[in-house]
Structure formats: structure tokens, C-alpha cells
């Protein structure tokens, strides 16, 4: 019975991971920057919503705060700092180090500003609903719905709009896209803003679920988000969602079988196995593309 229940729990965990992973993979696929500071954007988004809650603003305003904080921070970093280093010839590895440094600056900056404290994040969870062996709160169902909506929206954007086509063209062949007259600057702006907004939303989703917030929220959550994005092949929102689902289900099933301390180990074990047997999942994007587009 617990094994079946864990499937439901896994879907909720997957939704949390998927929101972040879709934003990450979108940005990674286009810019080729393995952006470690994405965790910082998640933390910033979560804290923005926390501030809104502390000011007793409506929940919807808190969500907007989270989206804006993540979007603006990511866009600002992408168009200024990362662009600066890219212009100076920073390669893929150097850019990872830059984003790592930025991530630490954001984390410890927020840590200092928040007086190095852990805060309660009060968010209405709604009633507990039971369908057979499955149990969810209203809020958890909303989070799953949001993840599905984000996925659907991104798929429509990428496959049914001119912007999406341009974005995919840039991700595949950035030089060719430029010579074809695609407004690369505009596309990059959109991607930084969109992925940042999703980072903020993912941070908010994480603290809604964990009920507490501190400066390490993003860095704690980032490995799972990265794993899903990499496992699902960089640039593929569908892959990110499937990978998030796999990670969510595996970690909860391992927990259900009594191995809670090994749940995360199992999740990352799968990542290691997939990368060993299907290196294309990672290399498919990175090996063929060394140019950074910021």
C-alpha cells in the first residue's frame, strides 16, 4: 500500500523539481551556460514571496514577487556580468566558475541580510484530500497543476510560435540563426527572463512545501534541478519533466521501502547510470556546442 501511495508523493516531488528544471534547461539549452547561480535566483524568488507574506499581501502578489525577483535577477546577471565575461572570451568552464561565484555571493548576501536565520514560511495548505490510497493537500495539487501548466505553456511557446522557432534555431545553430536575421538579443532577453521567473517560482514552490525558508534553499534544491535538466537532455523541457518524474518517483519509492536516507543517493545513482550508458543525454547538447550565447 505504501508503495502505491509513494507514487502520489513522487508526482508532487516531481512537480517541484520539474518547475525548476524546465527553467534551467531552457536557459542552458540556449545560452550553453551551466548557470549555478540559478540556485540563487530560486532563493531570491522564495525570499521575495516571503517578504510579501510578511507584509500580509495576498498570495497572488507573493507569487508575482517571486516571479519578478527571479526574472530580474537572472536577466540582470545574464545581460551584464555573464555577457561581460563572454565578451572577454570566457569558455564554458570559466563561465561555470563565474556562475558559481555569483551563486555564493547571492547565498551569503541573502544569509547576511536575513540575519542568518531560518524562518517559518506560512502558506495555506488547504484540506487533505484522499482518493483511494492517494493523499494530497489542495496546495500540492495546485503545485502539480502549475507544473503541468508551465510545461504545456513552454511546449506551445517552443513549437507553435515564431519566438519558439527562433529560440530553437538559436539553440541548435546560433551562428546560422544570427546570419538569418533572427534578433538574437531579444531572444536571449526573453530566455533569461523566462528561466529566471521559473527559478523564482521553483524557489517559492520549494518553500511552500518545506514550510521554512533560509538562505540555503536554492543551493539545497539545485542539485535535484540540475540532475533533472541534465538527465532530460539540456534544452528539452519534455526531457526535464520526464527526468523530474523519474527522480521524484525513485526518491519517494526508495523512502517508502525504508531507505529514506538513501533516497537522494538513489536519485543521483540513476543520473550516474544514465550518463554512463547514455552519455548523449549530456553530450548531445554540450559536445556539439561550445559557443556561449548571452
Amino acid at each position: 500500500m505504501l508503495t502505491v501511495q509513494a507514487l502520489g508523493f513522487g508526482v508532487v516531488s516531481a512537480a517541484l523539481i520539474a518547475i525548476g528544471a524546465m527553467g534551467f534547461t531552457l536557459q542552458f539549452g540556449l545560452t550553453n551556460v551551466l548557470n549555478i547561480s540559478y540556485g540563487g535566483a530560486m532563493t531570491a524568488g522564495a525570499f521575495a514571496a516571503f517578504i510579501a507574506a510578511e507584509w500580509h499581501l495576498p498570495v497572488a502578489v507573493g507569487v508575482v514577487f517571486a516571479l519578478l525577483a527571479g526574472a530580474l535577477l537572472t536577466w540582470l546577471l545574464g545581460r551584464t556580468l555573464f555577457a561581460f565575461y563572454a565578451r572577454r572570451g570566457a569558455g564554458v568552464f570559466e563561465m561555470v566558475m563565474v556562475t558559481l561565484a555569483v551563486s555564493l555571493i547571492i547565498q551569503f548576501g541573502i544569509d547576511a541580510a536575513s540575519h542568518e536565520q531560518i524562518y517559518r514560511f506560512s502558506f495555506p495548505q488547504g484540506a487533505s484530500l484522499r482518493w483511494g490510497w492517494f493523499a494530497f493537500t489542495v496546495t500540492q495539487l495546485v503545485l502539480v497543476t502549475v507544473a503541468v501548466a508551465v510545461y504545456t505553456g513552454l511546449e506551445l511557446l517552443l513549437r507553435r510560435t515564431k519566438l519558439g522557432k527562433a529560440l530553437r534555431a538559436m539553440a541548435d545553430q546560433p551562428r546560422l540563426a544570427r546570419t538569418c536575421g533572427i534578433p538574437t538579443g531579444k531572444i536571449v532577453n526573453v530566455v533569461w527572463l523566462l528561466s529566471g521567473a521559473l527559478a523564482g517560482l521553483a524557489g517559492l514552490a520549494y518553500v511552500i512545501n518545506s514550510l521554512t525558508i533560509d538562505a540555503s534553499v536554492g543551493t539545497t534544491f539545485l542539485p535535484l534541478v540540475l540532475a533533472a535538466a541534465i538527465l532530460g537532455k539540456a534544452g528539452s523541457t519534455r526531457g526535464a519533466v520526464l527526468a523530474a518524474l523519474l527522480l521524484g518517483l525513485v526518491t519517494e519509492e526508495v523512502s517508502a521501502w525504508g531507505g529514506a536516507p538513501y533516497a537522494t543517493v538513489a536519485g543521483f545513482g540513476i543520473l550516474a547510470i544514465v550518463l554512463a550508458t547514455r552519455p548523449a543525454a549530456l553530450a548531445g547538447q554540450a559536445a556539439g556546442k561550445t559557443e556561449i550565447t548571452v
Binding site: 508523493f9 517541484l16 531560518i118 495548505q125 512545501n209 521554512t212 519517494e252
Partner: protein
Amino acid sequence: MRKSIHLTLVLSGVLAVAACSSGGGPGSSSGPVGLVQVGAYTGDQAFEAQFAASIDYPALEAINSAGGILGRQVSLIQVDTRSDPADALTSMDKALATNGNIAGILGPDSTSAATLVPLLNSKKLPMMIAAGESAYDRSSYSYLWRDVPPDPANGEAIALWAKRQGYTTVATVFGTDAGSQGDLPGVLAGLKAVGITLADQENLTPDQPSYRSSAQRLLAAKPQAIITESDGPTAATFFGELVQLGSVVPIIGTSGTPSTSYFSPLRGAIGNANFDKYFRAVVVGNPVANPAVTAFNKAVLAVQGKLAKPVTQWENNSFSESGYDAVVTLALAMDAAKSTDGSVYNGSIMQVTAPGPGKQVVYTYPAGMAALAAGHQIQYVGASGPMLFNSYHNSFGAQAVEQFPANAPAMVVGTISQAAVQALNG
């Protein structure tokens, strides 16, 4: 060659500056007396700093307002372990190298004791450790002192309390981090000794986005109570999901749980009413009513601006009282030995705390200082009660079972005596 000469000159200069900044060494007879509070001020165990503040500032207030130690004011040197044993070693090395007036150590705690205790012992610095690990039950470190129970004692007291409540089936929920695991062996041994069935044992990796499967498995085991210790965020996530999936049962926290950074998230997760009704913690220290408690509470109020709010959480707080007593004991030992040199006053710690014929019992630092100045032998009885160190420098008395109403001091709802804990061990 010229480069070598330049390098030598630069190094000599650096060493000279370092020597000047180090002051006169631990035996230094001028300037403030330095006490190091070593603990986690940042990192995942950062809540310990709140405890530290509740100990340090009232104790310093009590000592400095009475004229200090041997006429010298006491200064506090805070060393941050960053919740990491390796970082702790680096930070402590730096503090020792740059402060020549260090006379004693408050700490280290569980997260850094393994690396710091050998170092500090070799430096002949008396330390009042706050680490409950069994490794220090029969320690050979002569400068190590502990006035809190070893971890198994707290766990065993929890098992005794559970038995007293009539529980026959309980579950344990512990974080897998080192700081949270210390009490678990004692709890398990205690449950076995008192004949309580362990229905489920959940070990939680901290900071995961969800513990729903663990919570569901615990509910399926139908325990009458949950014994727990973890960091606040982990507790909030787990118990919040427990409420979502079923209902709360009585929760018994270890001595590591009472703090705002644990209570606040947990209250938010399970609701104030559930928290007040179901949460109890078995904490170190014997709830006593003596003049030392009054002095401690007065000192807390005097420095309330430096303590985490609400300040009432520190009044009559057994853990804070034990720490406060540790500082006062070190200060009185220095007064008794007429020295701030650890190698000299270390032997006086036992002298000012052990009972004995003809000794004057004192409850406050000024009283102890005056008695020593008048040539009397003293026994300091602190806010946590008498400190009766054994040959391994361990002292622990009864433990209190406390309830924690919102915006009010902790309420003692029961006690577990040291004799009861010892009887459990045969």
C-alpha cells in the same frame, strides 16, 4: 639571492607583527580576560549561536558587574565553526594565534569537539564542552569539563518519561546529521530497557523537499508517541506532512530541540494548538529554585537587548543555566587560583564546585568572589543546581521535562532524576 633576502625580511616583519598582536599569552596579567565561545554561528547548526548568546551575555554581565576576574574585565571572543569540524579547526587556530589573552573555552559543541578538544587540551586551556558524545564520558583529556549529561543519559531519560506516560509503542524520527544523531543510541537503549516497543524508526536526511513516504510509514506503524531530534526545517517539513496525511501524536524532543529556530518552524507546520498540546522536551539540568536562579534571570534581563526574542525563553531555561554556571565556575576557579593561566586554575575547578566540610556554599559570582577574598573555601551551587564533577570531569543531575507555551517561559511538567537514569544502566 636578493630575492631571498627580501623574502626573509618580509617574513620576519610578518612574524614580528603577528607576535605583537598576540599579546602576552594566556598567563597575561593585564588587559581583559578572554573567554572563547566556540560554536556554530553560521551553517546548518547555526541555531546553537542563540544558545551561546543566552549563556555568554548573562554570565559576562554577572562577572563584569561584580568587578571582573582578579580585577580584570572579561571579554568574549566568538569563534565560528561554521557547523563544520574542519572549518572549526582553522577558525580556532586563527583565534589562538591572534588573541593572547585567552584563558578558557566555552564549548566546543558536538559538531566540532572531535577536532577541537585535542587541540585545546594540548594548549592547556580548560574547556566547558557542550558536546554530549559518549566519547567524553571517560575522557583522558584533563582540561575537558562537562556539566551537561552525556547523550545516552538524555535519551534514557526520554525513555523513562515515555514509560511514565504509559506509552507502550513509540516511533523515533531523527535527522541523519551528526548533531541530531547523538541522542538516538540512548533513546533506543532506554526504550529497550524500559520495555517499550519501537514501532518505527525514521532517519531523515536534512533539507529534503519532502518526507511524505517516511511520514506515511510512521502513521501506518501507529505509534502512541514520537521521539525526535532534527534541525528546524527538517522537523517542519516532516511534521507538517504528518499533519497533512493523518494526525499528530505526542512528540517528545531531546535536549537538542528547545530553541526558537526549532520551535518556530514546527509551530508553523503543525499549528500552535497542536504544538502546545503535544510537544514536550526532556532537557538537561535540574529545575531548582535557589538564589542562583534569581541571579541568572536578573542577568538575562540586564542583557535582553542582546538575546533572541522573546527573552522569556531564556529565563529558567535549563540549558542556558548550565552554560551560565559553566562560565561562573571558570571565573571562580581563576579567582581561587589567583591566576588566569589554564594550567594553574584547571585544578581549582573541582575545588570551587565540590562539596566539603567547612566550605561556604555560594550561589552567585559576587558572593563567591567575596568568600574567596575572605579566605574561605567555597562550593558554587549554580542555577542548574550543584555541579558534582566525577573523576572524568563529568557532572549531570536530574533532567527536566518541559512544555513550551507561546510567549511564556518554559514550564516544567516533570523531572527524571540522575539516579533513575543510572538505575536503567544497572
